[in-house]
Symmetry: C2
Subunit: 309 residues, 2 copies
C-alpha cells in the first residue's frame, strides 16, 4: 500500500467522516465520528481535530476538509464561490485554518429564478468527486435533510437548487398531526404506500394541500397507518423530483438520466421514485467526498498532481 | 330580551365555544372554554357538556353542536355529507347524542382533482352562518391550522379545499432549522418581512425549495432575524392564496373578492396578503358558528322556524 498522502475530512453539522488517502488517490481507511461542528464548544476545533484523527495524528501529511467546518459556525468562515464553480475555482479559494492545521474548501452559492440565494457546503466536493471531469450535461441529486440537485458540466458545477425535503418529512412525522396517524415500523419500506405517495407528488398540486391527504386517506380507510409515513415520504420526494425536473428542463438539460450521489436507504428511495417518474438513475461512486477532496488538494498544490487524477 | 331558544356549541379539538341564542336568533351570551374533545377522557362527554354549560344547564332549551364532537374521537360519529352540501342536507343528517343530550351536525366531504378526499367539521356551519342564502358565487376562506377555502352558492357548499398552512408554519418555526434563525417578538407583525414572503408565495415555485430561502436570505443579510417568522408566514399564506385562486378559477368562480371568515390576527394576515395579491376581501359576520347552528336547528325543526331566518 502506498504511503498516506492526504487526510480528507467531510466535516458537517452533526458528524465528520475522515479518510486516509494514499498517493494513488485511493481511500485506505475511513472513520465516521459524531463530532460535527455543533458538538464543538467555544471554537475548540483544534482538539476536536486531534480527537477525530486519533492514531492518524502523528502523520505529517496535509489535511483538507469540506462542509460546515467552513461556515460562520465553523473553524474559519470560507466565502462561497459563485456558480458556475469549477474545480480550479474551488482550489483557488481554499483557506487555511490557524497554524495551517487544515485546508478548508469553500462552499458554492447561486441564485434561483426569483433571485433568492441558494448555498451548499460539502456537496460541491462530493459532486466533483463523484463525477468524471469528462462528463457533460449531468443532472445529479444528493438526497438528504436538504436535498441538492445540480447540473454538472466537465467537472464544473453550473447551477444547483435545494429542497428541504428531509427536514420537512422529519418535522411533519415527529411533530404534526400527520405523524400521530403514522404507525411505527422504522426501517421497513412500504413499497405500495411509497409509490402511491410518489404518484401524488409527481402530479401538480399545492404541497400544503396535498400533505393533508395523509390524514383524509387514513380517515376514509384509503391508507393503512403503517403506510402513512412512506406515503408522505413518497409525496415529498415525488414533488421534489417533479420540481427538479422542471428546473433542469428550463435549463435545456436532458432529464432522462439522473446520478444519485449517496448510498443509504434514502438514496434507495430516490432510485425507486425516479423509476416511478420514468427516469433512469445510477449511483455515483462511493467515498465521493474523499475523491473530491483529493482532486481539490491536487489542483490546489496541497498534494502533488498525478497523471491519473 | 327574548327567552333563550337554543344553546349552540362549536365544539372542536382544543376548545369549545358555547352560545345562548334567543328566539330572534341573536346571540345573548357566549363563552369559550378549553374543553375540546382531546381533553375529554374515556368518552365522558356528558359531564363535559354539563361543565361547559355551567349555570346555563337547568334550561330546557334544545342544544346543538358542530365540529370535532361529531368525529370518530367525539361523542357520536356523524357521517360526512358530500358536496354540494346544502343547509337542508346538513339539517337532515343531524344525529342525536345519547338521551337526546345534544344534536350534532355532520361534517362535509369532497374529493380533490386527484380524487383524494377532503373533509371539514365545524367550518361548514360557520360558512352557512356567515353567508346569506341569497349570495351566489362566493369564494370564502376560513384561516386556521388547516385553512379551508370554499365555494358557496345560495347557502350551499359547492366544494372546498384544505391547506395545512397554519400547522406547517407551526412545525417549521418550533422544530426546524428555520425556527432557530427566527427572532422572537410574538405578536408583532413585520409588514415588510411578511409582504416579501407573500410576494414569493404568490409566485410559482416548489414549497420545499422556497422555504429554504428563509435560511439563505438570513445568511446573506437579506432578511433580519426578527423578520424570518413573518417572511415564512407570508410565503405560506401567499402560496395558499395562489393555489386557492387557481382552484377557484378552474371552477369558473370570480376570484376578485374573497370573504374571510374569522376575526383574529391570522384573519388580518389573510386580509393583507389578499391585498398584496390584488384581491378584495371582506370579513364575514361575527359569531358565524352560532348563526349557522341557529339556521340548521331551524331547518331541522329543533327550534321553530321564524320568518327572518
Amino acid at each position: 500500500m502506498p504511503a498516506t498522502a492526504l487526510i480528507a475530512i467531510d466535516w458537517g453539522t452533526s458528524a465528520a467522516r475522515a479518510y486516509r488517502v494514499g498517493g494513488d488517490g485511493r481511500v485506505q481507511e475511513r472513520r465516521h465520528v459524531p463530532l460535527g461542528i455543533k458538538h464543538v464548544r467555544d471554537g475548540r476545533f483544534e482538539p476536536a481535530l486531534a480527537k477525530l484523527l486519533g492514531d492518524w495524528q502523528p502523520t505529517a501529511v496535509p489535511k483538507i476538509a469540506c462542509g460546515m467546518i467552513g461556515s460562520r459556525q465553523g473553524w474559519v468562515e470560507v466565502p462561497y464561490v459563485d456558480c458556475p464553480a469549477s474545480l480550479t475555482a474551488l482550489a483557488d479559494h481554499v483557506v487555511q485554518a490557524p497554524q495551517d492545521a487544515l485546508a478548508i474548501v469553500p462552499g458554492v452559492a447561486t441564485r434561483d429564478a426569483a433571485g433568492i440565494p441558494d448555498v451548499m457546503r460539502g456537496e460541491e466536493t462530493q459532486l466533483l468527486g463523484a463525477l468524471g471531469t469528462d462528463e457533460r450535461g449531468v443532472l445529479a441529486v444528493l438526497p438528504g435533510t436538504h436535498s441538492k440537485w445540480a447540473r454538472v458540466e466537465h467537472g464544473r458545477i453550473v447551477d444547483f437548487t435545494t429542497f428541504m425535503t428531509g427536514e420537512l418529512f422529519g418535522v411533519l412525522i415527529d411533530h404534526s398531526m400527520l405523524g400521530r396517524l403514522a404507525g411505527h415500523e422504522p426501517g421497513r419500506l412500504s413499497r405500495d404506500g411509497f409509490s402511491r405517495g410518489v404518484a401524488r407528488g409527481l402530479d401538480e398540486g399545492a404541497l400544503a394541500h396535498d400533505i393533508f391527504g395523509a390524514r383524509t386517506l387514513s380517515l376514509t380507510g384509503g391508507l393503512r397507518s403503517d403506510d402513512v409515513a412512506d406515503w408522505l415520504s413518497g409525496l415529498l420526494i415525488g414533488r421534489e423530483i417533479r420540481a427538479a425536473r422542471m428546473w433542469a428542463l428550463r435549463a435545456g438539460i436532458d432529464t432522462a438520466r439522473v446520478r444519485i450521489i449517496g448510498s443509504d436507504a434514502l438514496a434507495e428511495r430516490y432510485e425507486l421514485a425516479l423509476a416511478d417518474a420514468g427516469m433512469l438513475s445510477e449511483r455515483g461512486a462511493e467515498d465521493a467526498a474523499a475523491h473530491g477532496l483529493w482532486r481539490i488538494a491536487q489542483r490546489a498544490g496541497i498534494v502533488a498532481a498525478t497523471v491519473n487524477a
